[in-house]
């Protein structure tokens, strides 16, 4: 159970079964809400089918090899994009976060580039590097770079100065201090950045496929379901739900990783292991 619960509402940590059943309750409540909105006609059923139908369709889609191929392509683009973003953003964040001159020099450029929407870039990127998987991947990298970069930079700021001084006093240079103190100390927050980026990367993969998609991909599947007459809303939402579920799974994996890798962090904050 989380720390602050101990602090704000002292009590025993909930057991894993309780926690999972709570999650199930949350998910069911959400599904029930959609079911209700759809069945009562609050929203046009044609455009927002009931949850049960969506879930049923998800089941049949899972067995459909064509859909699985779509999913696999998307995941590949997602994984490569996110990986590249992390590999680029963490060192960059360390550099910008620890050398103020570089930060100052590049800030105008970085802040100028950041708010440029990737849709606007699609034709330009397509022209320069082509329209295959590399287009998707580069857009994914472009969008998911920022959360990791910023969380790295802000994470560095939160490092206890005394911890840094300790290492400095033993004659370690700035680089060692960065790698041995600043990086581990801000690692939990950087990982939060990666979790954020994972979500953004997923959204971007699918969105790019929807906007510029051809070939394979979940987005392509969703796009084609959308241009059918009438639009196959159940297909769209079932596809979307698979994407969402994948997001949940990725997040759960990352959280589990955090718990293992940063035991010191969670334990110190009072979490019971």
């Amino acid at each position: 159970m989380s720390v602050t619960a101990t602090a704000l509402a002292p009590g025993r940590p909930a057991r894993a079964t309780v926690r999972w059943s709570r999650r199930a309750v949350g998910a069911l409540a959400f599904a029930a809400l959609i079911e209700l909105v759809s069945r009562t006609g609050l929203a046009d059923r044609e455009f927002l089918p009931p949850a049960t139908e969506i879930v049923a369709r998800m089941g049949t889609l899972a067995l459909d090899p064509a859909f699985r191929a779509h999913a696999l392509t998307s995941l590949l683009a997602w994984a490569v994009g996110l990986g590249l973003a992390a590999v680029a953003a963490v060192p960059l964040g360390l550099l910008l976060g620890s050398v103020p001159v570089v930060d100052a020099a590049t800030r105008s450029v970085v802040e100028f580039l950041r708010p440029i929407p990737s849709v606007a870039l699609i034709p330009l990127v397509a022209l320069v590097i082509g329209t295959g998987l590399q287009l998707r991947i580069s857009l994914v990298v472009y969008a998911s770079l920022w959360p990791i970069l910023y969380n790295t930079m802000y994470g560095l700021r939160g490092v206890d100065p005394l911890a840094k001084e300790s290492l400095r006093s033993y004659g370690f240079g700035p680089l060692s201090v960065l790698l041995r103190v600043s990086l581990p100390s801000s690692a939990p927050f950087i990982t939060t950045g990666v979790r954020l980026a994972a979500g953004i990367a997923l959204i971007l993969t699918v969105s790019t496929e929807i906007v510029a998609g051809r070939g394979e991909g979940m987005g392509v599947f969703i796009y084609f379901a959308g241009i059918a007459v009438p639009a196959r809303m159940t297909d769209i939402l079932a596809g979307v739900c698979w994407v969402g579920l994948f997001g949940v799974a990725v997040n759960a994996l990352l959280v589990a990783f955090e718990r293992r890798a940063f035991r010191w962090h969670h334990a110190r904050l009072g979490e019971q292991t």
Partner: protein, 257 residues
């Protein structure tokens, strides 16, 4: 070994919270000497220590270690910080914390580990090496910080109230440990303490600082028979005399009036 020449430090110059911590402080420490610094709370002792370690650049005067002007941290220096709990790395086990600086010594993993274990044992912490700092009591954390500095075998060791959080017996043991290590490894040690008895017992010299802005108001040579001993030394008439002397000097400059 260490020369401090007309040192001054002003915090937050130009802000409403401007504070002159040190002003016109002169001090020199010979090789192998163990200098104790006492002075009223908030007078500027830690500031002085940070200047020596090159962690802050003083706003005036200069510090020389082994003849070199201190601009960044001098080589072969170790510091035991007053705020020991924050100076330990929470993501490392106790053993790793102690072994970390030894990387600078070019030791391999095994050698580092052994040195760390030895240092931990010397401060009475064998058995705690696998724990994380937050799993230790305050006094144990302080001893980890001491062990880290000892394992490093510095030529100049700066200790800021290093025995403040341990019980009387352990404190005496640690005092003797420092004396022993100093003898073995030819260390120069600057030790800040509030315990007047301690300053006289471990010091070759005791320097008393004034209240802020700090400067030297007393500099006493401690000429007690070596080796020192917790019982006989403390009963020595010179000890009693020196301790009263230091006490008088400190009391003349206390923080609460």
């Amino acid at each position: 070994m260490l020369e401090i020449d007309n040192l001054s430090h002003v915090y937050g110059a130009g802000t409403p919270n401007e504070h002159r911590a040190i002003e016109g402080l002169n001090l020199s420490v010979a090789e192998g000497e163990l200098l104790c610094i006492v002075g009223p709370s908030g007078c500027g002792k830690s500031t002085l220590l940070r200047s020596i370690a090159g962690l802050i650049s003083p706003t005036g005067g200069q510090v020389k270690v082994e003849g070199n002007l201190v601009r960044q941290t001098p080589d072969n220096l170790a510091v035991v910080f007053q705020d020991y709990s924050r100076s330990l790395f929470p993501w490392m086990s106790v053993a790793d914390n102690v072994a970390l600086p030894l990387r600078r010594r070019g030791m391999d993993k095994k050698a580092r580990r052994e040195a760390a274990m030895e240092a931990l044992e010397s401060v009475g912490l064998s058995g705690a090496e696998r724990k994380y700092p937050f799993q230790l009591s305050g006094g144990m954390q302080q001893r980890v910080a001491i062990a880290r500095a000892l394992a490093y075998r510095p030529t100049l060791m700066l200790m800021d109230e290093p025995f403040g959080s341990v019980d009387a017996q352990t404190r005496e043991d640690l005092e003797d440990l420092v004396l022993k290590v100093r003898g073995h490894h030819q260390m120069t040690i600057v030790l800040i303490t509030h315990d007047i008895d301690e300053s006289v017992y471990v010091g070759d010299r005791v320097v008393v600082l004034s209240k802020a802005p700090a400067h030297v108001v007393g500099d006493l040579k401690v000429d007690l028979p070596e080796p020192r001993d917790q019982i006989t030394t403390r009963e020595h008439p010179d000890f009693v005399h020196l301790r009263a002397e230091v006490g008088r000097l400190v009391r003349g400059h206390a923080a609460v009036v």
